[in-house]
């Protein structure tokens, strides 16, 4: 069974159709990269998966469970039921969106702490739970190579370090699928390497990931599957080596030619 199935997803903003009948699926432990020019709908697709946008129609299914059937869900319904369902997904933003008033470690711990508070055993196990959450956060940050930076505030960190904190934060709730929205686009070129290395490390450990990126070499090397989007539709998809070396569609060829030296 695929971990994620997306069927006939449609989304428009006013008159503009941004996603037109998007369908794809992916298997657990694989990395999918989505490429395409700006405005092709990649980011909107990720935002729909994370329920930051409500699709006009379509179905999102994770592990066989239908999280969203947009045609049947009303707006209020969408808001109410969505909170815990979105925990199936993690999202790393282009602009990090770290919480500035919290240290790196606190950023990673916050959501897990909020969720722990909702558990019935929170009161009696409070100290132990906080310790567990802290240890988990520390482990994640160490994993990101940030053991010396845990108690720094975001403004004291470089862009690459911020993005690695954001990745640790997204991993803290153990999402089934981790999504990256152009994770290196806001970084200076010399800082993209450290972030890409971390994502590559996650891929090596078979983390299920969807990566929207403009780093073509990275997409080709890391992804198990690639989707090329153009004007809101999936224009071409397949094995990255195939798509990159031998694109079938004229539009894909055009797009990729901008990246080949």
């Amino acid at each position: 069974m695929p971990i994620l199935e997306v069927q006939n997803l449609r989304k428009s903003f006013g008159e503009t159709l941004v996603l037109d009948d998007i369908s794809f699926s992916m298997e657990k432990g694989t990395a999918l990269s989505i490429i395409g020019s700006s405005g092709s709908g990649k980011t909107t697709l990720l935002r729909c998966l994370n329920f930051l946008e409500k699709p006009d129609s379509g179905i999102i299914r994770v592990n066989g469970e239908t999280l969203l059937d947009a045609s049947s869900a009303g707006k209020a319904d969408f808001q109410r039921n969505i909170r815990l369902k979105r925990l199936h997904f993690g999202l790393v933003f282009q602009s990090f969106n770290l919480f500035p008033q919290y240290t790196a470690l606190e950023n990673v711990m916050l959501a897990e702490k909020m969720l722990a508070k909702e558990q019935p055993d929170w009161k009696e196990r409070k100290q132990a739970r906080i310790r567990e959450i802290r240890e988990h956060g520390e482990m994640l940050l160490k994993d990101m190579g940030l053991q010396d930076r845990m108690n720094n505030y975001p403004h004291q960190l470089s862009g690459g370090q911020c993005q690695r904190v954001a990745i640790a934060r997204a991993l803290a709730l153990n999402p089934d699928i981790l999504c990256f929205d152009e994770p290196t686009s806001a970084l200076d070129p010399e800082l993209t390497g450290e972030v890409l290395r971390v994502i590559r490390g996650l891929a090596d450990r078979n983390t299920t990931m969807i990566i929207v990126t403009h780093e073509m070499t990275f997409a080709r090397d890391v992804a198990d599957y690639v989707i090329f989007m153009d004007s809101g539709v999936i224009c071409e998809e397949g094995d990255p080596r195939e798509v990159f070396s031998n694109p079938q569609q004229e539009r894909t060829r055009q797009f990729l030619s901008h990246y080949s030296q």
Binding site: N50, F51, L52, R83, L84, R86, L87, F89, G90, L91, F93, S95, N97, L98, F99, P100, Q101, L110, A111, M114, L115, Y153, P154, H155, R169, A170, L173
Partner: protein, 227 residues
């Protein structure tokens, strides 16, 4: 009476007046901050008529002189409606002045709060949402401190203006410090024709605004650990 004899009399009278100034200042803050927050929330409502209503109120209260608002609120019930709700005497004048100041300042605060809340980048809310946080958790745990940090400079501006604006209540004869200082011109406590007490009131305002400046600088510094 020479100056050294005048001074203790004037000093006592100005202190009493300044106490009334401080009372009006405190009541205005206590009333206008929550009311301003309420107005700000209403102004961000998705219900358009409510938004328009708040915008109109804010426009009127910010767009007309506080002195006129004081006069209308104080005199309108008694002289026009023939229903003197404020009663007579200092208590009534204080009540009327409090109402005028609270409404007027709530409108200024409302705009500051709204700007502060809307100024938090939308990415903060989205980051909280994708982490499964509830809207209330996002507001209190993520946004609130950022809002407070953002509104401290404009709030300190308004609050420093407020302490000086309380002198406008002199127009309805509230016995605040300007009234007290002026009374020695016409004659009070055996002193008349003395202009210096009125000038001397300036010292009180300077001390008060000096303290406020220090307090707000401290607050700003306390929140400077993040950007």
């Amino acid at each position: 009476m020479d100056f050294s004899q005048q001074f203790p009399i004037v000093f006592a009278s100005l202190n009493t007046g300044f106490l009334q100034t401080l009372r009006l200042f405190a009541i205005t803050l206590i009333g206008a901050i929550p009311l301003g927050l309420l107005l700000a929330v209403a102004e961000m409502s998705s219900f358009r008529p409510l938004r328009m209503l708040i915008k109109t109120i804010v426009w009127i209260m910010r767009g007309s002189p506080l002195m006129i608002q004081l006069l209308i609120i104080f005199y309108f019930p008694g002289l026009v409606l023939k229903n003197p709700i404020w009663g007579s005497g200092e208590t009534g004048r204080f009540a009327a002045a409090s109402v005028a100041f609270v409404i007027n300042y709530a409108c200024y605060f409302c705009e500051i709060f709204r700007g502060g809340i809307q100024g938090v980048p939308v990415g903060q809310e989205e980051a909280g949402l994708v982490l499964g946080m509830k809207p209330a958790q996002i507001f209190f745990r993520v946004k609130l401190l950022q809002v407070i940090k953002a509104i401290i400079p404009p709030m300190s501006n308004e609050i420093i203006t407020l302490i000086k604006d309380t002198s406008l209540a002199r127009i309805i004869a509230l016995q605040e410090i300007i009234w007290a200082g002026q009374s020695f011109l016409k004659g009070s406590g055996g002193i008349s024709g003395a202009i210096w007490p009125l000038f001397f009131t300036g010292i009180y305002y300077l001390v008060a605004t000096g303290i406020l400046t220090i307090v707000f600088a401290k607050l700003e510094k306390k929140l400077s650990y993040f950007r």
